[in-house]
């Protein structure tokens, strides 16, 4: 860890504080790193309900596809915590008393804080069935849950997966890799329907079928049925009353910020913990960052939820700076995510909601899954889309009169970084707009030409 000499010296004059961070994920750990870089002296404690050290949640998808063993997702070793002089308490934080500046833990103890960061993250939404805790009901949201999923997959023969987002798709891919006959139930008529258009969905459909996935469109499970002894999953009940036999039931119907600690406290909540651009909550010396925080977003001019890893890292950094008194506003970048699904590389940048009907208001929270941002689905008027597709390579641009506001690329990724830059910089594309709207090969060629000219212009 490199320390900023001046900042450290300045802080030496102050009394040593106790920084308490609840949550050992991307936001919590980044905040700790940031705090220590500015304050060499103060005490720091990180509280986690999970048994492991900090791990990569997006990495869990690669654990079930067998690309890495579970231990490899651990992104910080014990030595890292020691070096940072960051104490780890493995216990759930159960209650917060802001007037006494205390948090009470499940192990019966309490911690008194000077500055508190809540970075509890989000967890998978459980299905609305009475038997959701049966053995065989699996989630892909924690390392423990992922290990259970793999264990179940070793014994299981037939799985049903529900959920319309990226996590459900990753779970399906993982189960196929684990050699489980996998049935994917979808409410709608297309895959990842909050994000994909018909063609993009069809492309992924083709890949999934080739990998042996059974996709059931417009199919919903209404109930999970238990085995004779009532402990394990035996089947899913379909709306027509029939039973669909399965021993694994994968759930990825969305995520919910973990807010238990702040319920019934003066900390203001909406769907997440409301924070300003400094990650400050409504209560002094209490901060929030990451998946549990609903931060102000200049793009949509609203407080939005982002369940994206880079957002959690960026928010953790801003929270850490605010906590040491070196406040810097959050400069939220363009939402950006890259994933690999059944061999297809998919990149999503900015606003890509393909819906055009004004009546079609997206139920964003319900469908927000790990790896997505509300900004993708936020509505902006008068957006046009342009399209280019060749084989398994597609490119969709979303733009207004003068600038690009979003893009979705499948396959060929050459334009991913240029598009990210152009969207972020709000570059004026009006000169090439007709060529972009023409679509096809011309779109790609013009965009590349424009990019090279843009780069030269920026360099000068």
């Amino acid at each position: 860890m490199k320390h900023n000499g001046t900042a450290v010296a300045a802080h030496h004059a102050q009394a040593a504080l106790h920084y308490v961070i609840v949550g050992n994920g991307a936001a919590g750990v980044t905040a700790a790193e940031t705090i220590r870089a500015h304050d060499a002296r103060s005490r720091m404690t990180i509280v986690t309900a999970e048994p492991s050290l900090m791990y990569s949640r997006p990495g869990l998808a690669y654990v079930i596809t067998g690309e890495i063993p579970p231990r490899q997702v651990i992104a910080r070793r014990a030595e890292w915590y020691e070096q940072l002089r960051l104490d780890v308490v493995h216990s759930a934080a159960e209650a917060l008393d802001v007037s006494a500046r205390r948090i009470y833990l499940a192990n019966g103890s309490f911690l008194t804080y000077d500055k508190l960061l809540i970075a509890t993250g989000a967890r998978a939404t459980p299905p609305p069935y009475p038997d959701a805790s049966l053995k065989g009901v699996v989630y892909l949201d924690t390392l423990t849950g992922t290990k259970q999923l793999i264990q179940q997959a070793r014994r299981g023969r037939r799985a049903v997966v529900v959920g319309g987002g990226i996590t459900a798709l990753e779970m399906v891919e993982g189960l196929i890799h684990q050699k489980v006959e996998t049935h994917y139930f979808l409410r709608g008529k297309q895959l990842w329907n909050r994000v994909f258009n018909d063609t993009e969905s069809a492309l992924l459909d083709e890949q999934m079928q080739a990998h042996g996935v059974h996709i059931h469109y417009q199919t919903e499970a209404q109930e999970i049925l238990p085995s004779r002894w009532g402990r394990k999953v035996r089947a899913a009940r379909l709306p027509d009353g029939s039973e669909f036999r399965c021993d694994i039931f994968g759930v990825a119907i969305g995520v919910k910020p973990l807010l238990d600690l702040v319920q019934d406290t003066p900390v203001q909540l909406d769907r997440g913990i409301l924070v300003n651009e400094f990650m400050e909550t409504s209560v002094p010396d209490v901060f929030a960052a990451g998946d549990c925080a609903q931060a102000y977003d200049p793009w949509t001019r609203q407080h939005t939820l982002d369940i994206l890893w880079p957002s959690a890292v960026a928010e953790g950094r801003v929270a850490g700076l605010s906590m040491v008194g070196a406040r810097q506003p959050m400069q939220k970048g363009t939402p950006f995510n890259v994933c690999k699904l059944f061999g297809l590389h998919v990149t999503i940048i900015g606003q890509i909601n393909p819906r055009s009907s004004a009546n079609d208001e997206p139920e964003v929270v319900q469908h927000l899954s790990r790896g997505s941002s509300e900004t993708w689905f936020s509505r902006a008027a008068h957006h046009t889309s342009a399209w280019s597709s060749a084989g398994s390579n597609t490119l969709r641009l979303v733009m207004d009169e003068e600038r690009l506001v979003g893009a979705l690329l499948i396959g060929e990724q050459t334009l991913a970084d240029p598009l990210r830059t152009l969207i972020q910089a709000q570059a004026d594309i009006s000169a090439i707009r007709p060529a972009l709207l023409a679509g096809g090969d011309e779109l790609r060629t013009e965009l590349l030409r424009f990019w090279h000219a843009y780069q030269k212009q920026v360099e000068q």
Binding site: A26, S56, R57, P58, G59, Y62, E67, I68, P69, Q72, V73, I74, A75, W309, P310, G333, F336, V338, C339, K340, H345, T347, Q413, A416, D417
Partner: protein, 88 residues
């Protein structure tokens, strides 16, 4: 498997790795999700993730510039950067 064929297999595996000189692996920290797929595939055991998450180039002297980490990264975080040699 005979000793001869074992040696032969090993040799083939070694040859499969192309070593590219005069360059290094550079990371876009904003893309990194710290999954560790890079380091897991590094044949010399470099903790590539610790460089990648900070957006640093992999400056480990043990790096044999084989490019395995670039190929396996699921998020496109890593790329090859040619080193400019100062002729002066």
């Amino acid at each position: 498997m005979s000793l001869f064929s074992r040696l032969f297999t090993k040799e083939t595996e070694k040859e499969a790795i192309t070593i590219v000189h005069l360059g290094r692996v550079q990371a876009d920290g904003g893309r990194c999700v710290q999954c560790g797929v890079c380091g897991y595939n590094c044949p010399v055991g470099i903790d590539v993730r610790s460089y990648a998450r900070q957006g640093l180039s992999v400056d480990d002297p043990a790096c044999i510039t084989c490019g395995q980490c670039i190929q396996v990264c699921p998020r496109g975080t890593l790329r090859w950067e040619r080193m400019v040699i100062d002729e002066a």
